[in-house]
Amino acid sequence: MTDRIRIQEQDFDLAEEYQLLRQTDSAVGAVVTFSGLVRDFEVSAEGAGSVMNSIDSLSLQHYPGMTESLLEKIVEQANQRWNLIATTVIHRVGDLAPKDQIVLVGVASQHRADAFEAAQFLMDYLKTQATFWKSVKRNGEQQWIESKASDQQAAARWDGSDDK
């Protein structure tokens, strides 16, 4: 298992990370990547009555030291649950603009089901367990993003049984 975990201000290059995942081992038959991007709007609430507000920029704070160890634990759990060959998790912090890349999760495995499920698991856990906080600026005013019930639900599906 080759795991790469990085928290950084600078942008990442998906192509480079993909090549690293792909070339880990000649047994790699499947590579799944997930990239999260800054959209140019944020939805103010879930469900009916939600409002889309356009944003100027997004800012990501994290808890240095704690985030790294949480991400290591999340990746370790994924390796225990699925048969993975290599995993990459990169999360950016600091100020980001619409269309910027925020997060990359990449998984290489022999078979596609492992790579797909592990990538979803990593994203769900990253959204609900890792110590990152997002704020947005609109018209010069900063506002913290509310956590989403849908993210909690997505993460909950991995609890309990080993299966979905």
């Binding site: 808890y63 999360h91 913290w144």
Partner: protein, 88 residues
């Protein structure tokens, strides 16, 4: 250094996310023996912050591990108050 008179530990305190907005005037070190005591000490001067800290989703960590509010603290501990995370 612990306060020799009270026996309380000197704790480094951190507030993340929206909690930070309410904690700008909070000193970075506080004498206390549990995270709950830190919260109680702040109630008089920072009522809005403490209202936020009392939200059930707020978690506490000591030295970067999630703990309960009654976790005993020792000199030099780092206590952080964590609102619901919103990464990814």
């Amino acid at each position: 250094m612990a306060n020799l008179e009270t026996g309380l530990a000197m704790i480094n305190v951190l507030f993340f996310g929206r909690l930070g907005d309410f904690a700008k005037q909070v000193p970075s070190t506080i004498e206390a023996s549990t995270p709950a005591e830190i919260r109680d000490l702040l109630a008089a001067d920072f009522p809005e912050l403490v209202r936020e800290l009392n939200q059930p989703q707020v978690l506490v960590s000591v030295n970067k591990m999630i703990v309960g509010w009654d976790q005993p603290l020792f000199d030099g501990c780092e206590v952080a108050f964590l609102p619901p995370v919103t990464g990814g």
